[in-house]
Symmetry: C2
Subunit: 100 residues, 2 copies
């Protein structure tokens, strides 16, 4: 019964879309613990600013890609991903005194 | 001439694929500076392990998504993304003494 329902989902492509949506959610929210940790410790010496800068550049292009494709999962995930990484970059700059 | 060639690319969808490929490359290589920084300083106290763990979980699902869709850009980018983040997680564990 369950496997039959699962096959139906796979057949419909809903399963694949679901996997992609969970994947996009996980990679996007993954930056939240770093924001919380940075905010609590006010210390981001060990975090590379190039990680955030390159990542934000990438998600900005993903955002454009999502707009071209009219894909809202890609648009929302990468708008948040860009915002989170620009915030981290700003925090890194803000805490540079206590981080040096 | 150039704008005509560009319109052709947009029409063919090659331009959109190119944007997506550059976006995937940027988000994937963004973790390399963090690996280099961690390896050089042997210090990763400020880096959240949840960032790497959540991100690697996400890219593993993206990998499955790429396999379902038979999309090699997604497969290669996320195989590397998973590897980079598992390596960072291992480095975080390895340098925990000098990080405490």
């Amino acid at each position: 019964m369950l496997s039959q329902a699962l096959m139906q989902l796979v057949g419909d492509g809903i399963f694949i879309t679901l996997v992609g949506s969970i994947a996009a959610s996980l990679t996007t929210v993954s930056f939240l613990p770093q924001i919380v940790k940075g905010y609590r410790t006010k210390h981001m010496k060990d975090v590379s600013p190039y990680l955030m800068a390159l990542y934000a550049s990438g998600t900005t292009l993903w955002l454009a890609y999502g707009m071209f494709k009219d894909d809202w999962v890609i648009i929302i995930a990468n708008a948040l991903g860009t915002a989170f990484n620009l915030l981290l970059l700003y925090m890194k700059h803000l805490y540079r005194r206590s981080s040096s």
